[in-house]
């Protein structure tokens, strides 16, 4: 067993154990940092697999993403300092069975499939090839990802903003009732006196 194998074993152990601890820790902030640890380990495995660009990009992207996630964790956290035991789960047994079944099924599929063996030639300039591919033959796919991200930005602003530029989108409207002459469905109009919150 060479150094590569030992490193791979250590990194996979870190990735899997920290991935599991995400759902076993008491503090949500700690959970997001454990998830970051799992991502970093996977990123390093990817670097070892001859894809340095993807691996490093994963580490950078996840570092930023998990910082944002930690902020959201603080905002939505039940148990700020992780001082009390936290176990917020439903359908727990079903979920364990589903997770184990997914792992067993995928592992069986892996072990019983004969994959072709065409490893990357170490002398291949993989990052260069990726760049040529991104801005060459697969440019439309790459651009589609860019447009998707733009749509995501617009969508997340629309979803998370309190109101549009000209006030609530449904201001002054009265949604129809669920039954004839019933209470209006959905958000109740604010009670009188034109008092509005501005944020």
């Amino acid at each position: 067993m060479g150094l590569t194998d030992l490193l791979f074993l250590a990194l996979s152990a870190v990735a899997i154990l920290s991935g599991w601890r995400v759902f076993a820790t008491d503090s949500m902030v700690r959970a997001s940092f454990l998830l970051l640890l799992s991502f970093v380990a996977v990123g390093l495995i990817i670097v070892m697999l001859a894809a340095p660009y993807i691996g490093v990009a994963t580490v950078f992207m996840m570092a930023v993403e998990m910082m944002v996630m930690a902020l959201f964790m603080v905002m939505f956290m039940m148990n700020p300092a992780g001082l009390n035991p936290m176990m917020m789960v439903h359908q727990h047994r079903f979920s364990i069975v589903a997770g184990v079944l997914a792992f067993a099924g995928l592992t069986a599929a892996i072990l019983f499939t004969s994959f072709p063996k065409i490893p990357v030639d170490p002398s291949t300039p993989v990052v260069h090839d990726l760049g040529i591919e991104l801005l060459g033959p697969s440019m439309l796919i790459f651009e589609t990802a860019g447009v998707t991200l733009l749509a995501t930005m617009i969508g997340s602003v629309i979803l998370s903003s309190r109101s549009g530029r000209f006030g609530m989108a449904d201001q002054g409207s009265r949604p129809p009732g669920l039954e004839p002459d019933g209470e209006p469905a959905g958000r109740q109009p604010e009670a009188g006196n034109g008092h509005h919150h501005h944020h």
Binding site: F8, S12, A15, I16, G19, W20, V22, F23, M28, A31, L35, S38, V42, I45, I46, M48, L49, A50, A51, I54, A57, V68, M69, F76, M78, M88, V89, H90, Q91, H92, S95, A98, G99, A102, F103, L106, T107, I110, L111, F115, P116, K117, I118, P119, V120, D121, V126, D129, E133, S138, F142, A145, T148, L149, T152, M153, G155, I158, L159, R162
Partner: protein
């Protein structure tokens, strides 16, 4: 480090992520399960690319698409969490029952 071991690690990450996504009550923890599953998917794609495709660049392109999916998942997920919290003061899945049945 063979292809099978890499794929088994990826399968373990997908299994843990599936457990998290199905079992967690809090929206944000649920999203961490989804991210972990995508993490496993990314590792599997790169493992297959490195061992079975002889370095064809399209495999790395697929990995980049998966990373874009991760970003979209995070951004839209948090926006939805914020929107739901604003409308319903809800931050656990049990609070949303209007779409049930």
């Amino acid at each position: 480090m063979t292809l099978a071991t890499v794929l088994i690690v990826a399968a373990a990450l997908i299994g843990i992520g599936l457990y998290g996504a199905l079992s967690q009550q809090s929206f944000v923890m649920l999203m961490m399960g989804l991210e972990l599953m995508l993490n496993g998917g990314l590792l599997a794609v790169i493992g297959l690319w490195a061992n079975t495709m002889g370095g064809a660049p399209e495999g790395q392109l697929l990995a980049i698409i998966i990373m874009a999916v991760m970003a979209v998942d995070m951004a839209i997920g948090f926006a939805l969490v914020t929107a739901v919290y604003r409308k319903r003061q809800a931050d656990v899945t049990e609070s949303l029952t209007t779409m049930k049945h």
